[in-house]
Symmetry: C3
Subunit: 115 residues, 3 copies
C-alpha cells in the first residue's frame, strides 16, 4: 500500500511504502536568507514533514543536498551539524548544481524509515 | 532476490528488489523536441517501463527531474501534470543542472512500488 | 532497525534498513587522476564499502553518477564497464553538474541489496 501526504500542485511532499518514507525536495521559504539560514529553515521543515509522516530525524536514512554555490558548502554543513547529532547522521551527498530557482541556494531530498 | 530487466550497454533500465522498482534515467529519444515535447516523450517511456516491470503510474513513489534550463521548468510541469492526475503524484524534486548531453533538456529518474 | 556504519564528520557512509543498503556520495581520494582514474578509484572504494556492509557488487541496485565535465562521460563508462559485468549492471543515470569540489570530476551514489 502507498500512503501519500501533503499534496501540492506538482507533487506529494511525502510518500510512504513498505516502511520507507520518501520526501520531495525541500527548499527554504525565505530565499533572502544566506546559505546557513536557508539550510536551517530546510531542517526545520524536514522535522515537520517527518512528524507528519510518523517518523523523526532519528530515523533518517539518506540525504542528497543540492547547492547552487559550492563554495558555501561549509555554511550548509554548519546548519546540518547543529541539527543532527553525530550518531544520527544519514548517508549524504552534496552536489553543486547550476540552478535551483531564483535566490535558492540549497535544496534537500531525504528519505527515512517509518519505524 | 534482484530482478533486472532491459539491459543496455551501461545499465539495466529496471531493477526490482523487495517490492520496490528502480529505474535508470530516462531521456527523450527525439532531442529536437522542446521541453514539453521531451517531457511528454519521457512520460510515455516511463509508462512502458512501468508496464514492463509489472507496475503502472498509479504506483509511482518518487521522481527526480533534472533539467538543463531551469527557466523552462513550467513547460516540463505542463507535460507532467497532463500525465499524472493529482492523487497519483509522487514526491518530486526538480534540479537545474549544467549538462545532460547534446540538446537533452530533461532527464527523469523514478521509483515505483511493485504492488 | 537502522544500522549505520563508518561515521565521518558529516555523514554515515553506509546506512542499512529493511534489507536495502544506502551509501553516501563517493569521490576519488586522488583528485589529480583523470576521469577514468578517478572512476576506477571510486569503484574500488565502493567494493570496500559494499564488503563492509555485508554486500557485494553482485547486489547493486542503483547508481547515480554526477560528473563535472559531461564531455568525458565515455572515459567514466570505460572504468564502470571494466568493473561491472553486463549481467550485474544496476540502473544508472549520469548527470553533468556545475561543481563537485576542486578537481573532483566524478561522484557516485549507489544503493544495494543486503541479500
Amino acid at each position: 500500500m502507498i500512503n501519500r501526504h501533503i499534496r501540492t500542485k506538482i507533487m506529494h511532499r511525502i510518500v510512504e511504502h513498505s516502511g520507507t518514507i520518501y520526501f520531495g525536495g525541500v527548499t527554504a521559504d525565505d530565499s533572502s536568507l544566506d546559505m546557513k539560514g536557508q539550510t536551517k529553515q530546510i531542517c526545520k521543515k524536514i522535522d515537520d514533514l517527518l512528524a507528519n509522516a510518523g517518523s523523526s530525524k532519528e530515523k533518517l536514512l539518506t540525504a542528497m543536498i543540492f547547492i547552487s554555490d559550492f563554495s558555501q558548502k561549509e555554511r550548509m554543513n554548519e546548519a546540518w551539524l547543529e541539527w543532527l547529532s553525530g550518531d544520527l547522521l544519514p548517508t549524504r551527498a552534496t552536489i553543486g548544481v547550476a540552478d535551483l530557482g531564483k535566490d535558492c541556494l540549497v535544496e534537500v531530498i531525504v528519505s527515512a524509515a517509518l519505524s
